[in-house]
């Protein structure tokens, strides 16, 4: 009898340890958003959603709309927000090139540069600048006075001085990127954490581009990552825990600060089909935002 009770307790404990406290709360922006490129959260916890066509939409934490503005830019691929609430919108510039595909000629877009504009919270443009050393911008963050940009074309994470735009460091070695996905987030102690999906790892780098921490491998356990390449996105929560996002099948997990003891958030729908990016963001209250980027809405998870 004791054995049965112990076994039952063990089962309950195991189940509890694997179930996150988070629950899926609501969908945000359905019907008002297009192809979502990126999410960001302002210092006042306003959710910012960047469409690929240049539109920036703002939502309060309760999911209600708080306005939007048109950046006037095209192919907008990355979004960052500074500590003082300025919004940085990045456009990947491209050229059309004709290539032979079998017996046919088809046109493809080749990334050739990055331009960004800075807006205040009302959408008034402050400045526009080109980052000549970059070919594309897939993700961008402002961390401790540095502008960090993920250049997928060069498969390189590039650190810049925010004021001058001058490059200060870069990370290329060890990045195993695939499927056109290259995401990272701001992490504690002035670091960034890259979703190194081809390596099935989350890797943290300091502002000098040095690796300071990593976790993850492919496998069947909850602490592991699955699929052909994962995670596609990562975000830090206010308590230092780490959110990871896996696509196809969609798995949203929260690890402790050491990248261990993962707990899965149950009830999150299949956000994307196939090998696609799922932008994510967190706010100061620990709310989690996940973009179903082709469906045109954001899923909010909260405790």
């Amino acid at each position: 009898m004791k054995f049965v009770y112990a076994a039952f307790s063990l089962i309950l404990w195991t189940a509890a340890s694997q179930a996150s406290e988070y629950k899926v709360e609501k969908q945000i922006g359905r019907g008002n958003l297009g192809q979502i490129s990126q999410l960001a959260v302002s210092p006042d916890d306003t959710l910012l959603v960047l469409d690929n066509n240049g539109k920036v939409s703002r939502f309060k934490a309760d999911g209600s709309a708080a306005g939007s503005f048109e950046s006037g830019m095209v192919n907008t691929t990355a979004l960052a927000v500074s500590d003082d609430g300025l919004i940085y919108v990045f456009s990947t510039l491209s050229e059309t090139k004709k290539v032979k595909s079998g017996a046919r000629m088809r046109e493809i877009q080749i990334p050739v540069g990055v331009e960004y504009s800075v807006f205040d919270a009302a959408g008034n443009k402050q400045l526009t600048r080109k980052l000549d050393q970059l070919k594309s911008a897939k993700t961008a963050k402002i961390v401790n006075g540095s502008l960090v940009v993920a250049d997928l074309s060069a498969k390189t994470l590039v650190f810049h001085d925010l004021k001058t735009g001058k490059e200060t460091a870069r990370v290329k070695k060890g990045l195993r990127l695939c499927c056109g996905i290259f995401d990272f987030c701001a992490a504690p102690d002035h670091t960034v954490a890259v979703s190194n999906l081809g390596a099935f790892k989350v890797q943290r780098f300091n502002m000098d581009g040095e690796l300071v921490m990593e976790f993850g491998k492919r496998g069947r356990e909850l602490n592991d990552f699955q699929g052909c390449c994962n995670p596609v996105s990562t975000a830090y929560l206010p308590d230092g825990c780490i959110l990871t996002v896996e696509k196809d099948p969609t798995r949203i997990k929260v690890y402790d600060a050491n990248g261990e003891n993962a707990k899965q958030i149950d009830g999150v729908e299949e956000l994307v089909k196939g090998c696609s990016f799922i932008p994510s963001a967190t706010d100061s209250q620990g709310n989690i935002y996940l973009a179903a980027n082709t469906k045109g809405y954001v899923v909010k998870c909260s405790k």
């Binding site: 498969k155 195993r176 499927c179 081809g198 390596a199 099935f200 196809d248 099948p249």
Partner: protein, 281 residues
Amino acid sequence: MFKISFSLAAGLILLSGCAHHRAEPRTLKIAVNEIYCTETACACVHDVASRSYDPFLNQLAETGIQLEFTYFIEPYQLEEALLSGQYDGVLSKPWLALRLQESAGADFERVADLLDPGNNGWLSGIVIVPADSAIQSLEELTGKRVVIGEAESYEKHQAALRLFETRKIKPTGIETRASCGENIGELLDGHADAAVISDYALSADCAVDFANPEDFRTLEHTEKIPLTSLMINRNKVSGRQVQQLKKSLLTLSGNPADEALLSKGFIAPVPWNPPELKETP
């Protein structure tokens, strides 16, 4: 006499009814995880993994064979599906299913093998080193660090271990990783001197996005095993239906097969009897 005959006839009718109900489902449910299928391959290799089964399944249906495919991009989910007992068969690397058949209560028969876009039906592991490595032969791996696949990947685990044993190669350490990309990463990062990966990994796996074939040199191939097989659970499907399926698959294959299959399609299964099946089914 009449009573005996009547009872016998009734019994036979009952038995045949039971057998029909147990062994001949109208539509065979097939779990699919296949390297070149668009539904199960990563988007980064969709230029080569563009296989679609729908037209071929429609052709099969015209011969009286109904197959219902359920696609699993994640092999671990395919395994769970097989263990659930909800499927009549599986289309995948054969080892994925054969290793599970005892725990799944299944008896998988390889009905046909599927050819890849190059009309190749074989799979092997390749032992690779960086192109500029000083290591020139397999024998030089004794005393070196080698990373291989995990136990569910026969070509880069069991076959690799057997290759080393046969050739009396004794690496200092053999570590395992669950993906070819990770094995290649260990090599690129200098954590291993050699890696064993699947022979398609540099052309039809996520590794194509971050590893150039020219950056590696192949020292050796592991033994050849079947690449992809359609396997039917004989505990659920009758021999008659299996034979009918096999006949239809082979009739619709060859030259030309439906172009969406990207190859000549299915062939009769090549013999393969992995010794591990007797030890660890």
